[in-house]
Symmetry: C3
Subunit: 138 residues, 3 copies
């Protein structure tokens, strides 16, 4: 069985790190499936998904790590062509990846106690985002 849900959210951009765990949990709970996986996927090339212990220290540390990986004010051929200034956003998003897949058992995500699902908006402006949850199971 496949069930599709969506999370719509407004993000501030600039490596905005948003905890979407409870939205994913609710979607999986509402799907009335016992065991399976949920694939969490962002439609759009400047967002990414991963997990983290969601606390302000690590939110700040992750931002620093991405700044080091692809500096905001670095030189990007994308910016020279398109002049939208978000070359860094694209590079960060491609390196992190647009999706994660999380198992669930007895209707519950198999996350660790201190492990949350985050969506990161790397774009350089506020965005309205559509995150697709594809729930496959039985």
């Amino acid at each position: 069985m496949v069930k599709t849900k969506h999370i719509k959210l407004k993000s501030k951009g600039e490596t905005d790190i948003i905890n979407i765990t409870s939205e994913v949990e609710n979607a999986v709970g509402g799907a009335k499936l016992k065991n399976g996986t949920v694939t969490v996927f962002v439609s759009g090339a400047t967002g990414g998904l991963t997990t983290v212990e969601y606390e302000p220290g690590l939110v700040s540390d992750l931002k620093m790590a991405f700044e080091k990986l692809a500096p905001r004010d670095g030189k990007y051929a994308h910016n020279e062509r398109w002049h939208d200034g978000n070359g860094f956003s694209h590079v960060r998003a491609s390196l992190l990846g647009p999706s994660i897949t999380v198992p669930f058992s007895s209707g519950k995500l198999t996350l660790g106690t201190w492990q949350q699902i985050i969506f990161i908006d790397f774009d350089n402006r506020p965005r309205t985002r559509d995150i697709v949850l594809q729930i496959i199971g039985e």
Copy 2:
């Protein structure tokens, strides 16, 4: 229902970035499934998968980002042991990861308008590649 397809391609190596979106779309369309996910996986330890807005600026920016992450001419214990000179290829591939999973709804991938699926060949020589598409849905 599970359907397996393959993309065979020739790549030039040296962080060759290849847009495989239409091949994946065609495979998913041909599978005659409505809703589900496609897992795109490279068999081989020197390739990787992600998404990007596929335009020449970002193709060049991504190459630069990988060169920074694991420099081609850096010092690698792999090279000292095996003398094949592709230590950088392996490190880049492991950091990016060998697969992505993309949902589809009504037979169409849920990609954003400017978001393409890319295969990156990090090896230091041309390769013939087998990319597996595992399509699961109903």
Copy 3:
């Protein structure tokens, strides 16, 4: 059909890189499914999954790459708040990601000949780990 298996292991932490390919192969073989995917997921925010050619040179090279990406003795807001000294572990784990999804055909993983599945424990102390294998197929 969905089958859930677990790999329990003891890791040493400090970017301990463990080859779990044969455990995953055995679980998939034992599931008696022909075609599908296995999602390998670590419950916990300081571990990650990817593939590599598992040989001592690359194990060492990957450790170096992660040390460059998020240095052990760097400055982390997480450490200043919680004093557990594993800010670097969290950042490395979030960048790599907590899961990979690997297809199987005729009961066999579609890995390349020199491609192994690895679990990396980034924490700064030994841990007992629970890795979830969610096998979906037919």
